[in-house]
């Protein structure tokens, strides 16, 4: 089970799991899209992710998640550098649908600056508002 209280969220329907700095390793963040986003996209058939070493800036488009009927953009939720991308998802994009918070993670980045992110409760509230407006 996913412990949602350990995750942070963005208004672009992404989740961020922070890993604190350890000896020899800087603080990193693992990033994916939420189950809500995966459901809205439908069957994911292709992901285009930035390679390790690419610098990313908060709010910039760094990748794409494509379904049979639409395209979602991956926005960088933090400033930093890509440490690795999930190549398993590149080979099996359906992981984004089947396990968005686990094996369907997208990229891991070393971050320099952490913007304000949403708590699980705040994200749930945001979803409630979005649904109501539809």
């Amino acid at each position: 089970m996913t412990d949602f209280d350990q995750l942070h969220f963005t208004s672009e329907h992404e989740w961020v799991r922070l890993e604190p700095a350890t000896d020899g390793a800087a603080a990193s963040a693992t990033i994916g899209i939420t189950a809500y986003a995966a459901d809205k996209l439908g069957d994911v058939v292709y992901v285009d992710l930035p390679d390790a070493g690419v610098e990313i800036a908060d709010g910039a488009v760094v990748g794409e998640i494509e379904s049979t009927k639409s395209v979602g953009e991956l926005f960088a939720p933090v400033d930093g550098t890509v440490l690795e991308k999930n190549s398993a998802v590149e080979d099996a994009p359906e992981l984004v649908n089947s396990d968005p918070y686990g094996e369907g993670w997208l990229i891991r980045v070393e971050y320099t600056e952490l913007p304000e992110l949403l708590s699980y409760a705040a994200y749930q509230a945001l979803l409630g508002d979005e649904e109501a407006s539809h």
Binding site: V45, Y46, S67, T68, K69, V71
Partner: protein, 958 residues
């Protein structure tokens, strides 16, 4: 007296219309439409000033078309330059080209009812991929020249090079070079033209791409391997335009290292047609599939695990990706691609090679005759085209040849080219030799290895080994194969196709007849003016008629698809602003409700897209428009607005919207996709439009061909007319201007041929000629009546999303299925697929609003068919209600299991909670008349995740 054509075209008669009007509470059709269309835009009465004649009967129109045809002179074309005479196998002409089962189908967005043409298209893709030696071909391009432009744009996307330079072969087709020049300039690409056959690899400049014509326009055949290698080393992609017939004898672009191959499949059995329509093609090497523009057919599986075809990677396309799409094109050239693919199916690899060998052999024979006659030829290596040196005599010789019935291509005063094709005979060579005063001699056989092809370029790889290209050699077998495929599909010859925004109306037989007459089909697009007088008269008349009904001053028929019409219109706006020194006016405002093509076209016209919000009624949010205009006050180029809107509503504020844009110095582009809802009642040019494109394949009866051809004329007011597309080879530069006089269209070309897809223009000409102004207005009225009738009768079952003045819709209505999904779990897909079981093609799904169906009945359906559709929708709603009531489980009911094939009810135990009869005969009328889908629900995701875009190996059919 014969029944007037208007009563053949419009499906509802007076009695039926009265029933419909009673349902809606209006006294007359005109009263209904005038209540729906805002008073501010009602059309002015032209009275006697109208240039559209009184309607003619079908018989009279056939005679008039015969008279126009007789003014054209069909000579034997040896002009070449990408257009070659060809023999259309009669079995293909009769069973495909002239068969409504093929030409009245729509784009295969509903794959379960489109397996026939999807298979035909995958044959085309396989043929192109194998002949070009590349991995993946798309399902056709608009023509060769636009395909080269798309190849250039693909190279820019696919290359890691940051250079803005694209290298162009100076031996490219002249019309392609012209198109490259105008299209590159708009998107900031610098072209460098080099004689590549004589260029050392080390002399190539830094570039993102390289374009090679193979063989060259001069006919010259040279080996591009070293150039391509060098280009690759510098990070550039190589785009090669190759002749498909030549490729049966010469090495494929893929084996020479090309990344992209483009060209035309015209000479595979598709008449020249004075320029079109024909299917262009594009194929790419592995790794570039996602960069392909246009439609791509792939293999997937259905719910029963059987192989099934569908459109793949649709998320690349403009309807989803908008301004970030790989291209603005949506319509392809499906009907023509199918013909070309079937030409390969019928001839097979050996037959194609035999044809190519004969063509090459005759070119070799002609070369030896000319040499013996003292002529110098420019090149020793060629496939079918000779460049002949005739210092000072080129024009005189071409004139003499023309007098003898042969058209040659005059390059300059000293040079001619002569292209041999499939139809050229030994007798032609004798005649030509006599005219050119060379030495005629008859060559006995052409079976020897052709001497004009250098050994290093002789083809060594196999092609077309799949059984489909090696089975249908007898005409009986071919006829049955074509019948089998067309039986898989649902076209207008089976029933209504109520696709919103697509206008699937009647394509009348009389309108279609002239298309295959030799006087329209057999002309080369660059034939001399004196030979095409009938065509030019027809084109002038059609331009004038279209200008009148849209309220504009001048029309260009050159764009060969709606997307190209959009591009031409936006380029005209760009040209206009630049001519006034307004170089910064590059912002294009586009409402969020617009069709994705608008945004994709704007980007290709060098514009920056700014999205304008829409309100909850689907109309342009005027406050947001004011804000966006203000924010872009000095950079505003244009607003693109669709009228009536993509929501099928007559926007009340359109006059104010146009005024606001004009006051800010912008131009108004009115997208004419929905013209069928205003024709005769309002004119774009009168209420504020500066330029529009029309879709002749919607409002003016050109059939959809299963996804093309289309024709997208662009119409403009006088100040923009000089910037409409011109063409270096146009037989005349001047076009009629409404109210008298002429105007020269001097903008850049957007199609390979001066008048685009000329051979299908007689269809729209005949439609207007038979309807007359009053008939066109009646058609609009009947279309609007039908849509409002559907909305009124279905409103209690499904919410109708948008409406305009007096609660009325335009020519289409949007049924909101989201409440149904929320209540029952039944989705818009389930309803669309269940409609197949009821014998219908689904309406437009999830456009412009996700989770909805947009219904456009058109004027051509009669009340019985409209009622049959309404009853089906009501019955399906009842089935969904039964799911909600728990009668059937959410995961096993007639909706989620739809469509049902014959096999699905016949094989194995029946284990569903509803019976077989409910599955396939939900209404009794189906017992006597039933369409059986060949496959069950297709797995969309499987096909995209396991991309495979060629004929599947035979074992997959087990």
């Amino acid at each position: 007296m014969a029944i007037p054509f208007v009563d053949r075209h419009i499906g509802t008669d007076a009695a039926a219309q009265q029933v419909m009007l009673d349902t809606l509470g209006y006294d007359s059709v005109n009263a209904l439409v005038e209540a729906a269309v805002p008073t501010s835009i009602h059309a002015a009465d032209l009275g006697a000033a109208s240039v559209i004649p009184e309607p003619a009967t079908e018989r009279e129109v056939s005679a008039e078309l015969r008279a126009l045809a007789s003014q054209n002179t069909v000579k034997r074309s040896l002009i070449g330059l990408g257009y070659y005479d060809t023999i259309t196998p009669a079995v293909i002409k009769r069973n495909v080209f002239e068969n409504p089962s093929w030409y009245t189908a729509y784009t295969p967005y509903q794959p379960e009812i489109s397996q026939g043409r999807l298979e035909a298209l995958i044959n085309f893709q396989t043929m192109v991929a194998e002949l070009t030696g590349l991995t993946t071909s798309n399902a056709s391009m608009l023509d060769e020249s636009t395909a080269v432009v798309e190849g250039m744009l693909l190279a820019r996307r696919g290359s890691k090079q940051t250079s803005h330079t694209f290298i162009v072969d100076s031996d490219a087709l002249p019309q392609t070079k012209a198109l490259l020049a105008s299209r590159a300039e708009a998107v900031g690409i610098d072209l460098v033209e080099l004689p590549l056959a004589d260029t050392a690899p080390d002399d190539l400049p830094e570039a993102f791409g390289l374009f090679i014509q193979y063989p060259g326009a001069s006919g010259r055949l040279s080996d591009p391997r070293l150039l391509i290698e060098k280009a690759h080393a510098g990070g550039a992609l190589a785009v090669v335009a190759a002749d498909l017939l030549a490729l049966t004898l010469i090495e494929s672009p893929g084996s020479l290292g090309a990344d992209v191959a483009v060209g035309t499949s015209q000479r595979f059995g598709v008449p020249m047609g004075f320029g079109g329509p024909h299917a262009g093609y594009m194929a790419v090497r592995k790794g570039l599939e996602r960069q392909l523009p246009g439609r791509l057919v792939g293999v997937s599986v259905d719910a029963a695990g059987n192989r099934a075809y569908r459109l793949s990677l649709q998320a690349r396309e403009q309807h989803i990706r908008r301004e970030k799409a790989t291209s603005n094109i949506c319509t392809a050239q499906v009907l023509l691609a199918i013909m070309a693919g079937m030409y390969a199916v019928y001839h097979g690899p050996d037959g194609l090679k035999a044809i190519a060998t004969e063509v090459n052999g005759r070119a070799v024979a002609l070369a030896s005759q000319l040499r013996a006659g003292g002529y110098q030829l420019s090149h020793e290596s060629f496939f079918d085209t000779l460049t002949v040196q005739a210092p000072g005599r080129a024009r005189a010789l071409a004139g003499a040849a023309s007098d003898a019935g042969y058209l040659l291509n005059v390059v300059d005063d000293d040079t001619l080219t002569i292209s041999v094709d499939e139809t050229t005979t030994d007798d032609d060579l004798m005649q030509l030799s006599m005219v050119l005063e060379a030495v005629p001699h008859r060559t006995a056989t052409y079976s020897e290895v052709p001497a004009s092809i250098p050994p290093a370029l002789s083809r060594t790889t196999e092609y077309l080994t799949h059984p489909v290209f090696n089975t249908h050699r007898s005409e009986t077998s071919m006829m049955r194969y074509l019948k089998r495929l067309s039986d898989y599909d649902y076209a207008l010859d089976r029933g209504m196709i109520p696709l919103g925004s697509c206008t699937m109306k009647l394509n009348a037989a009389t309108e279609m007849e002239a298309v295959s007459w030799p006087e329209f089909a057999g002309l080369h697009p660059f034939a001399p003016r004196d030979d095409v007088t009938g065509y030019l008269s027809l084109i002038d008349q059609l331009e004038t008629w279209l200008a009148e009904v849209t309220g504009y001053d001048s029309v260009s028929l050159q764009p060969n698809a709606g997307s190209q019409g959009e591009l031409a219109g936006l380029l005209a706006i760009r040209g206009y602003h630049r001519s006034r020194g307004d170089l910064d006016r590059t912002v294009c405002l586009i409402p969020s409700s617009a069709h994705g093509t608008n945004a994709a076209s704007a980007v290709l016209a060098g514009m920056k897209v700014v999205v304008v919000a829409c309100d909850e009624l689907g109309n342009v949010d005027v406050d947001d428009l004011r804000a966006k205009i203000e924010a872009n006050a000095t950079t505003l180029a244009a607003l693109m607005i669709t009228y009536p809107s993509t929501h099928g509503v007559y926007e009340h504020d359109v006059v104010d919207i146009c005024r606001l844009v004009h006051e800010a110095g912008g131009q108004v582009y009115v997208d004419g996709a929905n013209l069928n809802a205003v024709l005769g009642f309002a004119r774009f040019g009168e209420f504020g439009g500066d330029v529009s494109h029309l879709n002749l394949h919607k409002t003016f009866c050109i059939p959809h061909g299963g996804g093309g051809p289309g024709v997208g004329p662009v119409a403009a007011r006088a100040h923009l007319a000089p910037f409409l597309p011109g063409h270096a080879f146009a037989q005349k530069a001047e076009h009629p201007s409404i109210g008298g006089g002429t105007v020269v269209h001097a903008g850049g070309a957007v199609s390979g041929a001066p008048y685009g897809s000329s051979s299908i223009l007689p269809i729209s000409w005949a439609y207007v000629r038979m309807m007359g102004s009053e008939g066109l207005k009646q058609a609009t009225g009947a279309a609007v009546l039908a849509a409002n009738y559907v909305a009124a009768r279905l409103r209690d079952h499904f919410p109708v999303l948008y409406a305009g003045d007096n609660g009325l819709v335009a020519h289409e209505c949007i049924l909101d299925l989201r409440p149904l999904r929320d209540a029952t779990g039944v989705t818009v897909d389930d309803v669309a697929k269940r409609l197949i079981d009821y014998g219908f093609h689904a309406p437009t799904m999830s456009f412009p609003v996700a989770g909805t169906l947009m219904v456009e009945p058109t004027e051509s359906e009669d009340l019985a068919e409209i009622d049959r559709f309404i009853d089906a929708m009501i019955a399906i709603k009842a089935e969904a209600d039964a799911v909600q009531a728990g009668e059937w489980p959410a995961g096993d009911n007639p909706l989620v299991n739809a469509p049902h094939t014959a096999q699905s009810i016949a094989v194995g135990e029946w284990e569903h909670p509803y019976d077989r009869e409910r599955a396939v005969y939900p209404v009794r009328s189906l017992i006597s008349h039933k369409y059986w889908p060949p496959v069950r629900r297709i797995d969309q995701a499987y096909g995209d995740r396991n991309l495979f875009c060629a004929c599947p190996p035979p074992e997959a059919f087990a």
